[in-house]
Amino acid sequence: MSDPDDLIRAVEATLFASERALSPEEISRHLGGAMVRNALAELQRHYTGRGVELVERGGRWHFQTAGDLAHLLRREKEEVRRLSRAATEALAIIAYHEPVSRAEIEAIRGVQTAKGTLDVLMEAGWVRVAGRREVPGRPTIYATTPDFLAHFGLSSRRDLPGIDELRAAGLLDPVEDAYALLTGGEDGDRGPESEKEDESS
């Protein structure tokens, strides 16, 4: 076993001691401005395959137990929120389409979204208000948070399960766009603007 250098040890100790995930900038600030990215990579490599792993979630790093040990560690007292089906679908729609307005969520689900559904997601810290869409009515739009990524073990939104396939199949495009594409028509009631926004997020 190679002895880690002082910086690696310092980064390791800092992340171990921290009560929350830390960005490289925060770690660096804590360690007096040292460059920590290489140390993070080295640590991540070191912990690969161990019972504890170093992971990056939405740009912030933390140690957590390895996923394959879940069966040993799962606690009887379940602290994890069980989401209603409506909330689960809304969360998925927000995550895969963000940012989206409530009307857009409802368009996909084909049903009105109860007020409490989004509240539950925001209370869990997984969804946040991400401003307003600059269209008539200026609807509030929603997006996911870094805590969402951390909770579901995603490094970034690119890690969302199947997102590439869904995008390639056009399933993240609005019905009207897909319809226009399939029928060769120009009849989309949503502008290219919202489309672009979907892609860039």
Binding site: T65, R82, F152, V175, L182
Partner: protein
């Protein structure tokens, strides 16, 4: 067409839906008929029915789907289940769509029945994709359920320390302020040159003894030539003192004072020896 071996708990009600995708196909018919509340609206019910066809949503038979939906609604009505209006609206629209699809088409119709069906299919695909995505999310290793953060982190503390700032001038100035504030207060009256009443009385009395006739009071003042007596303030003092001296001498019966007009010269002479 259903898979009765799957655990029914996967779909145990709206409040705790945390299950896997495509589970509509795992439900048995009884559940289908009795658990109307399980669907989040008509589109959701349609998606469930579509999944029962066990084919890719892209190749689904819309006509079959419409039949299944209408059959379900009929059954629900027969059981006198209360159906929300949007289920009935969807039923009506689907019945209309079915008729359009079966009847000889009107080539002018825009959009065509096939396009309407396509639109419905696209919506079902999107909802299906999201439902599946949600289930896949929920099935991930979740923090606090499957994977855990460190149970007892020491925590990173940031201690704030004050660095006190003061400069020497402020300290010295503060000392001056304290001294000035607490120094005993002494009232000093500036010394002024005056002619006292006593000296005026002596001078006026002496000069009066050498005088026979009326003399202007001002001629009793010390002459300007004498050192210091040019000071106008001193002269005013001398005039005032001499006036008071004159009054005193008049009171003593040693002098007489006369003034011919207001603000006119004051005249003075020894009292006539009575």
């Amino acid at each position: 067409m259903e898979d009765a071996s799957s655990p029914p708990t996967l779909f145990d009600g709206d409040e705790a839906w945390d299950g896997l995708p495509a589970n509509a196909a795992t439900r048995d018919d009884d559940a289908l008929h009795l658990e109307l509340d399980n669907w989040e609206g008509p589109l959701d019910l349609l998606l469930d029915l579509a999944r029962r066809q066990k084919v890719d949503l892209r190749t689904i038979s819309i006509l079959d789907l419409v039949d299944q939906y209408l059959a379900y609604i009929d059954e629900a009505e027969a059981l006198r289940l209360e159906l929300a209006a949007d289920y009935l609206v969807m039923a009506a629209w689907l019945a209309y769509l079915k008729s359009l699809l079966l009847l000889p088409r009107d080539p002018e119709m825009q959009p065509s029945p096939e396009e309407l069906a396509l639109r419905l299919q696209l919506r079902l695909q999107r909802l299906g994709a999201m439902r599946e995505a949600g289930a896949r999310l929920m099935a991930r290793d979740r923090l606090g359920r499957d994977v855990f953060l460190r149970g007892a982190p020491e925590g990173l503390r940031v201690d704030r320390r004050n660095r006190w700032q003061a400069d020497l001038f402020a300290v010295i100035q503060a000392y001056g302020t304290v001294k000035a504030r607490t120094a005993p207060v002494v009232h000093m009256v500036r010394e002024r040159a005056v002619m006292t009443l006593e000296s005026a009385l002596a001078r006026v009395a002496a000069l009066l003894g050498t005088t026979i006739d009326w003399q202007d009071l001002r001629s009793f003042l010390p002459p300007r030539g004498e050192p210091g007596w040019d000071d106008p303030a001193l002269r005013r003092s001398a005039l005032a003192s001499s006036f008071v001296a004159a009054l005193e001498l008049a009171k003593q019966g040693k002098a007489e004072i006369a003034q011919d007009e207001t603000f006119g010269p004051l005249r003075l002479r020894p009292a006539a020896a009575a």
